[in-house]
């Protein structure tokens, strides 16, 4: 796969931004814990200048080009994985464009000004991986749905303006999603602390008789927008090849395939950062009168990490290509890449940390952050076990979950 001149320029500009603006502050920012809303808005403003984000002007260049999306995921994660997560998890904000009037009035100006933060609320305290059977329920009451339930671990929960919430639509006895905007309907949140991805807020959300207009049901958002003559690519601004998979794989699964491919590249970015530091350290640090890079067992570690990166990057690119081509293997490959690359990132950062000896454990050193951030990768967005079951189902046509 070769990047076009445009994609190469995009990557180089992004790298320059990350090196000059994020790299100098990342250690302290991550140590300070979850970024505030204002901090995220500041980063989103910078990223928008590079063509990254969810404003109506930007999103087609970003989500509309699979390569730009995955380049951004890898490059940002090489410097600060938490920033990548806070950015990506904000994507539900883009659906305010076709939501109910009250939501559009409250949120569209914010979205246009790049100040609308989104979150995707899927996981529940009971149920976890079993996302197809949510306990959160939406009951129809006149022209509104009344939402009741609880979500956990939701990225951006505390700072989000809008939440896309998976719930059972009791009126149809079907699973659907509901867009809740905080200007018109409030919900409680509570911070949840975790091992890695320290810079991104994750939280519990409690929906207690939260009322949303019928037009904020996701299937209705879609239906209304299409009835108004909007093209599917305006509603979910994926390339046509990706939305072509909507029939075969279902729209929600296609969104997951897209995001999971991004996660696979995120794991590659973390591994690359750990490898670069380990290689530099190995060439510099001396024991027994030689740089440790001279010792065969250290070279073996570098070999292993580099192999993990190349294999994971290759597989992730294959998943991205499948999306670009609208290949029916896109779901299989995105789960394979997410599962594989995220598992590899744990091994690879562990090996890279070992190359640094005690320095790898030093809290003043980045390596311990790479290791902690990598350790998180195998759980969100479907655990590795769930990715294996998705691949299994795609391969055999038999569902084990």
């Amino acid at each position: 796969m070769r990047l076009t001149d445009d994609q190469t320029a995009f990557r180089d500009e992004l790298r320059t931004y990350l090196e000059t603006e994020i790299e100098p502050i990342v250690d302290e920012a991550d140590r300070n814990g979850p970024m505030t809303r204002d901090e995220l808005v500041g980063y989103l403003e910078d990223l928008q200048e590079l063509g990254i984000g969810f404003t109506p002007d930007t999103v087609h260049r970003y989500f509309g080009d699979v390569w730009r999306f995955v380049i951004a995921s890898e490059e940002i994660s090489r410097v600060w994985p938490s920033l990548n997560v806070a950015l990506q998890m904000s994507f539900p904000a883009l659906f305010v464009r076709f939501a109910a009037d009250e939501t559009r009035q409250a949120m569209l100006p914010k979205l246009e000004a790049n100040r609308c933060i989104g979150c995707l609320a899927v996981t529940e305290p009971e149920g976890g991986s079993d996302t197809a059977h949510p306990n959160t329920v939406a009951r129809k009451d006149g022209e509104e749905f009344v939402l009741n339930g609880e979500k956990v671990w939701v990225g951006n929960a505390q700072i989000a303006d809008v939440a896309l919430v998976i719930a059972r639509d009791a009126s149809e006895d079907a699973q659907d999603m509901f867009l809740v905007d905080r200007a018109n309907a409030d919900f409680e949140t509570e911070e949840m602390n975790k091992l890695g991805w320290k810079g991104v807020p994750n939280g519990r959300m409690v929906f207690d008789n939260v009322r949303v207009p019928v037009e904020n049901r996701f299937s209705t958002i879609f239906g209304d927008a299409i009835a108004d003559g909007h093209d599917i690519s305006e509603i979910v601004p994926f390339p046509e090849s990706v939305s072509q998979l909507f029939f075969e794989h279902k729209p929600l699964n296609v969104m997951f395939s897209f995001m999971r491919t991004g996660m696979a590249f995120m794991a590659v970015g973390i591994m690359q950062a750990a490898f670069d530091d380990a290689l530099a350290y190995a060439q510099d640090r001396e024991t027994f009168g030689d740089p440790i890079a001279q010792h065969q067992l250290v070279q073996e570690k570098l070999y292993d990490v580099r192999a993990a990166i190349e294999a994971s990057r290759g597989l992730s690119r294959r998943a991205a290509e499948a999306l670009v081509e609208g290949d029916s293997d896109a779901r299989l490959l995105s789960s394979l890449a997410k599962g594989y690359a995220c598992e590899q990132s744990i091994e690879a950062t562990s090996d890279a940390l070992q190359v640094l000896g005690a320095a790898g454990l030093d809290l003043e050193n980045r390596m311990e952050r790479y290791y902690r951030d990598a350790r998180v990768m195998t759980i969100p967005d479907g655990t590795t076990e769930i990715q294996k079951l998705i691949v299994g189902k795609e391969l055999t046509g038999m569902s084990a979950y």
Binding site: A174, T220, G223, F247, K250
Partner: protein, 192 residues
């Protein structure tokens, strides 16, 4: 026996319980054969009430128990739709693309088709499948009938995975507004 007798009998059956209606339906459908379109054109309210009753009927079990009437049952539905299209400028206006669709139930032996002609601005449906349709829709018979008569919103139903669709996505999204404008014209759904 005149049309009026037949319509009176249909109206009388519509007053009965679902089970009794299901018992009467094969005979009534048989009597309508050959003149369904004319009847729908002349007695739109009765047709509207038949459509409304389909919402409570278990269509899959009816079709499974009366396989020989499945086609007649669909002919009634499609005849009604054909008449609606002919007589409603709103529906005609919404037709701007060529689309062919096959509907196949996955819980009973029922299959139908729809041909939308963008140039002629016509839409005709009937029983049986097409050889090489652009779109293939599969799902429970209740849902498929719901799609045809407007009880199931095509996009919402798809998003909620009430049925499956295969074929080019842009054709599917073009079909949805046409189906919607059609179901807006069904007398029963217009009333509700």
């Amino acid at each position: 026996m005149t049309d009026t007798d037949l319509i009176q009998d249909i109206d009388a059956s519509l007053e009965q319980s679902d089970d009794e209606l299901e018992d009467d339906l094969p005979e009534l459908l048989g009597r309508m054969e050959g003149q369904t379109e004319d009847l729908v054109r002349e007695y739109p309210e009765t047709f509207g009430r038949v459509v409304a009753r389909m919402e409570t009927m278990d269509i899959a079990s009816f079709v499974s128990e009366n396989p020989e009437t499945a086609d007649q049952f669909q002919e009634l539905l499609w005849a009604g739709m054909n008449v609606l299209v002919e007589s409603s400028p709103e529906v005609k206006e919404s037709i701007d693309d060529d689309i062919t669709v096959t509907f196949e139930a996955d819980d009973c032996p029922m299959a139908g088709h729809l041909e939308v002609d963008g140039t002629e601005q016509t839409m005709t449906g009937g029983a049986g499948t097409l050889d090489d349709p652009m779109l293939e829709i599969t799902g429970p018979a209740d849902t498929l009938v719901g799609l045809i008569v407007g009880r199931v919103d095509p996009i919402q139903g798809f998003m909620q995975q009430q049925y499956q669709m295969d074929g080019p996505v842009h054709k599917g999204t073009r079909l949805a507004p046409i189906m919607n404008s059609l179901s807006d014209q069904v007398p029963a759904s217009a009333e509700s």
